[in-house]
């Protein structure tokens, strides 16, 4: 993990195997597929689900401060707990949950490098026992706007010509893929990308075993080849904000970018907004390649 700006935010599978029942540590699994936790999880881990636990079920938003405090207490998390996230899909949802915890200012959040995939590849044991959780003591501040971009801010950012990273697949970026013929629409009325956004698909940040690429490789991808700058305010987005939380994590903690925000409304909001700029094609400004 050498060379990362904040190497301490990554912990190894080995470390997690040793700290599953450490009272100062809470291991949290967050998945695309909820049944995976039921099928088997790291011993001592609780499950926090992005749709059911982290999102408000009425408004399209995250749980409010009181809701977040309750979620933490119920899962045995106190303000001084070290919370380690891991999950399926190369830690998408783990990064998403990590991001929501940072939105509420939780100090000590970490990611288990490699997630479920690496744990499985190493032949480590899965447990079906739910841990006995002693309720935590938690008070949260209001949301930290420095990690989250809402629509109006993205629009202003775009108009100011500031850097945006679209982390979706090239087909989604280009506007070719919104939905397949005869298949249900994924939920956006327009396809394409926000003018000015560069396309750096999220999988480029991870290795085959689910771990993050080296600092050198990430530096090459995001800084040398694409020209993003550590000090420039940068906004990342995808379809619903999950893949871009992974990129937000990489830029902020592994590469040390100072001001990165995740636009969680992402394409499911932008592609439905009336009057916002959209371009199609493979180039940031939509001009012919």
């Amino acid at each position: 993990m050498a060379g990362y700006a904040n190497p301490e935010v990554l912990v190894s599978t080995e470390w997690v195997a040793e700290h599953g029942h450490d009272p100062k540590v809470r291991i949290v699994e967050s998945n695309e597929d909820r049944a995976l936790y039921t099928q088997g999880h790291v011993a001592g881990a609780v499950e926090i689900d992005w749709q059911v636990d982290l999102q408000d079920q009425v408004r399209r938003d995250y749980v409010d401060r009181a809701g977040f405090e309750k979620l933490c207490r119920d899962n045995g998390i106190s303000n001084d707990t070290t919370v380690v996230f891991y999950g399926d899909k190369n830690n998408w949802w783990a990064c998403y949950a990590f991001w929501v915890f940072k939105l509420y200012g939780h100090p000590d959040c970490r990611i288990m490098n490699g997630g479920r995939k690496k744990w499985q590849l190493e032949g480590r044991a899965w447990s079906t026992d739910r841990p006995d959780v002693k309720p935590g003591h938690y008070t949260a501040p209001e949301q930290d706007g420095s990690v989250r971009a809402l629509r109006d801010e993205v629009l202003k950012h775009q108009k100011g010509g500031r850097p945006l990273v679209d982390v979706r697949s090239p087909e989604e970026y280009c506007g070719d893929r919104l939905h397949m013929p005869d298949y249900p629409n994924e939920g956006a009325l327009r396809g394409g990308h926000i003018p000015g956004a560069v396309n750096i698909p999220w999988p480029l940040s991870v290795n085959e075993d689910g771990t993050f690429k080296s600092a050198k490789e990430l530096e090459k991808l995001y800084v040398k080849e694409t020209g993003l700058k550590r000090r420039s305010p940068t906004i990342a987005y995808c379809r619903i904000g999950e893949r871009s939380s992974l990129t937000w994590f990489v830029l902020t903690f592994l590469l040390g970018f100072a001001k990165v925000k995740n636009y969680d409304g992402s394409w499911m909001e932008w592609g439905n907004c009336v009057g916002v700029p959209v371009v199609k094609g493979t180039t940031p400004d939509g001009s012919p390649a």
Binding site: E32, D33, R34, A35, L36, T38, Q39, D49, W50, Q51, V52, Q55, D88, K89, R116, H179, M180, P181, D182, Y183, P184, E186, I240
Partner: protein, 150 residues
């Protein structure tokens, strides 16, 4: 032999009163029963034609109409047990029954089972798309002029 509607009702009844965790456990029991692909189907998988594109994890479905009625062959990646369980439920429900009965399966099946609340709206939408995919496949198989429909 019970109709698709009877089988679906029985499955809904099994799920509806369970609490969230138990619902997922029962879904995993179904997932474990999903049969492996028979060789004549498995050989077609590489073409990718039968992949369900709206699923982010690899899901391959072959809704077939045989002389005995509907038959659903499927392969779902091990990392997607929820999808696997739901596909297994549908495979058991449609087995050997006429297409019109399959088309009558209501789209709110996951809501009736009480799984929609456990899974959230986006996952529910994805699974509902699988039901639609199976219905379209069987409809196409039963209507020669629709054969080329996706």
């Amino acid at each position: 032999m019970s109709t698709v509607a009877h089988r679906i009702d029985a499955i809904v009844e099994d799920f509806v009163d369970l609490e969230g965790r138990e619902k997922l456990e029962l879904l995993l029991e179904f997932a474990a029963r999903l049969p492996a692909l028979p060789p004549h189907i498995a050989s077609q998988r590489a073409s990718g034609d039968h992949r369900v594109h709206e699923c982010q994890t690899p899901v391959y479905l072959w809704p077939e109409l045989t002389a005995d009625g509907a038959k659903l062959h499927a392969e779902v990646a091990a990392e997607a047990p929820t999808v696997m369980g739901f596909v297994a439920i549908l495979a058991e429900a449609v087995e050997g029954r006429p297409v019109d009965e399959v088309l009558m399966i209501r789209d709110d099946l996951l809501e009736r089972m009480g799984l929609a609340q456990v899974l959230g709206i986006l996952r529910t939408r994805g699974l509902r798309a699988i039901l639609g995919h199976i219905k379209r496949g069987l409809l196409a198989a039963s209507t020669p002029t629709l054969k080329d429909a996706p």
